[in-house]
Point group: C2
Chain length 156, copies 2
């Protein structure tokens, strides 16, 4: 993929993609879609868990770094869901995503939109310099949204 | 990590993290920082390449989907760089990142800020329903920013 990427960046000529199978991105390839959403969820997770660690005191609480993590967490809450909408990736292979996601898409969507709302709230509090107690409550609220979705839609 | 994640989401008790080594996130662990930035760059790549594929005609051009990819690409251009700032991940192991990044951090930063500007411009054009020709030019501009940074700061 690396060479393909480097070449793509230079000129984007059609001829480079004679092999359209290898050229397919996550939005047109089920296996890549699963990896895509897992990568995005993992990036989201690291930001979220760092905030949790700060609230608990496992790492030093630094408001500026907390606000950066809150901002990146909020941005990431918009990203993974496109990877659940690719043909063949419902649920796809090598995934803990349950078929119930697609049987109850509107509910799943409501879950991830709630998480986005929670994350925006957390970001605003962090940017405004809210207290550690207030931030801790906002982290807990977002954690409950994560858990609610995982309980229904992720294999144990 | 999965079990740790599930437990974290429930209550965030300190006791779960007696093993602080395994609990460390990408922002406090060099190896995880490298994976983090690679995951983020990969998510960014899939969004960008899909737009390039649409411009070239390798996949159908659909303005609404293009705008979604442009939006997610713009969001992702803010994310990977924190992973380059973690102690021990400069450059870290299993990475194509060159030491020159940290020798010329201000220049590296200028590169990724330029990419963010390019991506915001692309997003605005896509949201405003710009022509495929205009979008193609904006994709090319962003591609040149990618390439400029890779030429200087990524191993071949």
């Amino acid at each position: 993929m690396k060479r393909l990427f480097a070449l793509t960046m230079i000129s984007l000529p059609v001829s480079l993609f004679a092999d359209t199978v290898t050229a397919k991105t996550a939005f047109y390839d089920a296996e890549k879609a699963v990896t895509y959403r897992q990568n995005a969820l993992n990036v989201m997770y690291h930001n979220f868990k760092t905030m949790g660690d700060m609230i608990k005191g496992d790492v030093p609480f630094e408001s500026e770094i907390f606000a950066e993590r809150a901002s990146d967490f909020a941005a990431m809450t918009a990203i993974p869901w496109a990877g659940f909408q690719v043909e063949g990736a419902m649920p796809g292979t090598n995934t803990d995503a349950l078929p119930e996601i697609w049987q109850n898409w509107d509910d799943f969507k409501q879950h991830y939109e709630q998480l986005q709302t929670d994350a925006q709230n957390l970001k605003q509090l962090a940017t405004a310099g809210a207290s550690r107690t207030e931030l801790g409550q906002a982290v807990k609220t977002a954690a409950e949204s994560c858990k609610g979705c995982h309980d229904d839609y992720r294999a144990d």
